[in-house]
């Protein structure tokens, strides 16, 4: 199997350096507005500050995957004697909370590392964090190129979930016919 180079993008979050200003939220929501920067609303940001000053909890949190259902349980971290929120480090746009959902539509939000058009050299939240609580790192890794059977299964399963087996099979049949005629 062929090896391919994969770019790994990381944002290193240093909780101790965060001053809690939320500039990351500001620039994220502005950048992702349409047209670009035309509006500002932290609720649309794909990074949010989980912030409890009196408890000294300062966690910049990035929007991760959408999840259609809640977990089986919830986690709560205690670090250096400081108790963080339930799900306080979880990045999912999850039905159990409003975090990382568009305020009007409820649609999930996800951090794109500012690859949106025009792609940014560094994510903008990092550029606007003058306290270096957010540090961008990039590295390349060589990985095997493979198509995993379970990925295909998973994709199909969700299509079946959504449209039903019959509709899916009809579509596959119709499309395969199409591709035959076109060749």
């Amino acid at each position: 199997m062929a090896k391919i180079k994969k770019k790994i993008k990381t944002i290193k979050v240093d909780l101790d350096k965060c001053n809690g200003c939320r500039a990351c939220e500001v620039i994220c929501s502005a950048f992702h507005a349409n047209p670009k920067y035309s509006s500002n609303n932290p609720e649309r940001s794909r990074i949010r500050m989980v912030r409890h000053p009196i408890k000294d909890v300062y966690v910049p949190l990035y929007a991760g995957e959408y999840t259609p259902a809640e977990c089986m349980g919830r986690d709560k971290y205690v670090i250096d004697g400081k108790e963080y929120d339930e799900c306080g480090f979880c990045r999912a746009a999850c039905p159990s909370r409003t975090l990382f959902h568009e305020p009007d539509s409820g649609l999930p939000l996800k951090c794109d590392m500012c690859e949106d058009d025009p792609p940014q050299e560094k994510p903008l939240c990092v550029q606007w964090c003058l306290n270096d609580a957010l540090i961008y790192e990039e590295r390349e890794e060589e990985v095997e190129e493979e198509e995993k059977q379970e990925d295909i299964d998973l994709a199909l399963e969700s299509l079946v979930d959504k449209y039903g087996m019959q509709k899916l099979m009809d579509t596959v049949a119709r499309r395969s016919q199409k591709s035959e005629t076109s060749t």
Binding site: D16, N19, R22, Y37, S38, N40, E43, H52, L130
Partner: protein
């Protein structure tokens, strides 16, 4: 669509329990921008001069600034305006933190209260939903505690709460409104909030703030950030540590307090301790600060770290900013450990950290002088720190002597009599000032202290160095990248300013130069206060990222209003003159424009009169400090002139 602002105010009548969302006139934004500018307009229209501060008809306005909620760094100020119970003039106080942007995201530029609630309430603003809720369970609770309880009750940690403590509930004239890491402390705005029966205002907003020319605006914001970075890397040399960088004086960051402890006065603004600071004190204070300071923190959308979370073992956590660290310490001749401890209680009570320690030191001085008696202090412990805690508790509860002291040193002295007035020696326009006593009169500072409508030097000064640089090389060095000057002449003023000789204080800067310099300093503050931008990034520090040259572009690209430097200057003049006119209608005159007698050891009565004459003339006011008809008309304030004429404040055909 409105840009920069939401275009709506929330009008809340507490007597009737009525809430209205009212669209504002865009013309007023063009004339006054927002924040303090439009607050003054509202108060002018609604408050006749005889209105008492505790009348139900005294409005209490919580305003955002025009740029709050946009990506402009440091645009986070809440401007609270009402009639001050202490000065009986327009009470003007501001706070940073997170409240104003949240209000904008909820869809409002201002919240305007009128009336009085029969019971203690808190107001819950969540986008279009606004509720007046019972707060009987919060009665007597601390300001920080109240904010936490409300966030729990409403189950959302992202709610921003502005709250009063016991002092506000009891209408103490130095009561503050606490919020985030900030507070609107000066001039008794917390007392008016308490009088209206409002314990807190909780806000949560999830709407957009729109920008007129987004790409241009964000480019300017990026330039501001770049400049902040540059300034952080290049502190201004040749000035004291706390004035080298941006932000408010970095009291939470720095440990070196030699300058404050040896130049500011201890006790009731009385005693200078020239030999106080030494290695031993420095070591001890450093340890104290490092032990209690958990984290350096900022306000909304600002990279500075002017505040800190303070956790003193054994007492609950609070947030502190700037100079309160030393006000209690120095009033009580105590140390920093005491300062951090008593400030926690004072923050929960919600009191002004400048005035309140002075009131207490004033009271103990009166006791020593035999003007107040042992009977007034019955039950007061004898140890130095204990007695300050005791008196603070009496003041915020208005118990015994505390009831008299709760009105501030001016009114307390009037009530106490027996020569107590001599001890209320550090006031301007009835308001306690920083405990600073100096040698030689500085003409620029004389004017700012005397004429400032805000009656608080930190909200008037800035931009121009407080003292001359000793050498020509240092002056040249300072001037070479001084891009903020509105005019090149200011560089010449600084270049020629000497420590001694003919071109030194008090006769240099000359009268006219002093007026020029003050006008620049005032201009930047008035613009900031209309935009809601923190003085710490603009009007207060040396070489700030915001200035008269980039502000017009920021305002224009955010709002779509055509704006150049001349236009912005005109708005500044209008807003500054309007605030003066409001206070003139309430009786303010030249005779009130007096810094404390002992502020400088060397005074120059003749020069001081000349300075005032020139300042008024420059502003287009008459010799009594009253804006002339012509000036008012030039500033589109013809209706103010008409009102003045009707009341006989100015006479037709005369200045």
């Amino acid at each position: 669509m409105r840009y920069g602002e939401t275009g709506f105010n929330l009008e809340i009548d507490l007597t009737r329990g009525n809430v209205e969302r009212v669209e504002t006139d865009p013309k007023l934004t063009e004339l006054h921008l927002g924040g303090l500018g439009t607050n003054t307009k509202i108060l002018w229209d609604r408050v006749p001069p005889e209105r008492e501060p505790f009348s139900p008809d005294n409005p209490l306005i919580f305003s955002s600034g025009l740029l709050c909620g946009t990506p402009a760094t440091g645009a986070n100020r809440t401007i609270v305006s009402t009639i001050s119970p202490q000065t009986l003039l327009m009470g003007y106080s501001m706070m940073g933190g997170f409240w104003a942007p949240e209000l904008k995201y909820a869809g409002y530029d201002k919240v305007i209260f009128r009336g009085k609630s029969p019971d203690l309430v808190y107001v819950w603003i969540h986008n279009d939903k606004v509720e007046i809720r019972d707060a009987s369970h919060l009665k007597g609770k601390g300001a920080v505690e109240t904010a936490e309880l409300i966030k729990q009750e409403l189950k959302d940690p992202n709610i921003q709460v502005a709250a009063i403590g016991l002092a506000g509930e009891n209408r103490v004239y130095t009561a503050s409104i606490e919020q985030g890491r900030s507070s609107a402390s000066r001039l008794g705005v917390g007392a008016v909030m308490g009088d209206k029966g409002i314990k807190a205002i909780a806000v949560r907003g999830t709407k957009d703030i729109n920008l007129a020319r987004p790409a241009e605006f964000i480019g300017l914001c990026n330039d501001v950030l770049k400049y902040i970075k540059l300034r952080e890397e290049h502190p201004v040399p040749g000035v004291m540590t706390i004035l080298q960088g941006l932000g408010s004086p970095q009291e939470m960051k720095h440990f070196d307090e030699e300058w404050h402890t040896q130049n500011f006065m201890w006790g009731n603004a009385r005693t200078r301790r020239k030999d106080f600071w030494n290695k031993e004190v420095e070591q001890k204070w450093r340890e104290t600060q490092e032990t209690v300071r958990t984290r350096l923190i900022s306000c909304y959308n600002c990279p500075m770290k002017c505040g800190a979370i303070i956790s003193v073992p054994g007492i609950s956590t609070y947030m502190m900013k700037c100079f309160s660290k030393l006000t209690y310490t120095m009033a009580a001749y105590s140390d920093l450990d005491f300062g951090f401890k008593i400030a926690q209680r004072a923050t929960e009570y919600g009191v002004d950290g400048f005035s309140t320690p002075q009131i207490m030191a004033f009271a103990f001085e009166l006791k020593e002088a035999g003007i107040l008696t042992d009977a007034d202090f019955e039950g007061c412990p004898s140890d130095n720190e204990g007695k300050f805690y005791w008196l603070l508790d009496r003041i915020v509860r208005r118990e015994g002597i505390g009831d008299i002291l709760a009105d501030g040193t001016h009114w307390a002295a009037q009530k106490i009599g027996k020569g107590a007035e001599e001890y209320a020696h550090n006031n301007i326009k009835k308001h306690e000032q920083l405990p600073l006593k100096l040698g030689m009169l500085n003409p620029v500072y004389f004017l700012m202290y005397a004429t400032g409508e805000k009656i608080n030097i930190t909200q008037i000064e800035g931009q121009f160095p407080q003292s001359p640089f000793p050498t020509v090389e240092e002056r040249e060095d300072f001037c070479k990248d001084w891009i903020q000057v509105p005019d090149e002449k200011f560089k010449k003023y600084l270049m020629d300013w000497e420590m001694r000789g003919e071109r030194s204080n008090p006769y240099y800067p000359t009268v006219d130069m002093s007026v020029d310099i003050v006008d620049w300093q005032e201009m930047m503050h008035y613009i900031d206060d209309a935009l809601g931008v923190c003085a710490g990034l603009s009007s207060f520090p040396l070489k700030p990222p915001y200035h008269i040259h980039n502000y017009p572009h920021l305002i224009s690209s955010a709002t779509g209003i055509d704006m150049d430097e001349e236009g912005l200057r005109q708005i500044y003049k209008r807003n500054r003159t309007f605030l003066r006119a409001f206070n003139v209608r309430r009786g303010l005159r030249r005779a009130d424009e007096k810094p404390p007698e002992d502020h400088w050891k060397k005074r120059f009565p003749e020069l001081e009169e000349k300075l005032l004459d020139a300042y008024y003339k420059f502003k287009g006011w008459n010799n009594d400090g009253i804006p002339t008809k012509e000036t008012l008309q030039e500033l589109d304030l013809g209706y103010v002139a008409e009102d003045f004429e009707k009341r006989g404040i100015i006479k037709n055909g005369q200045d």
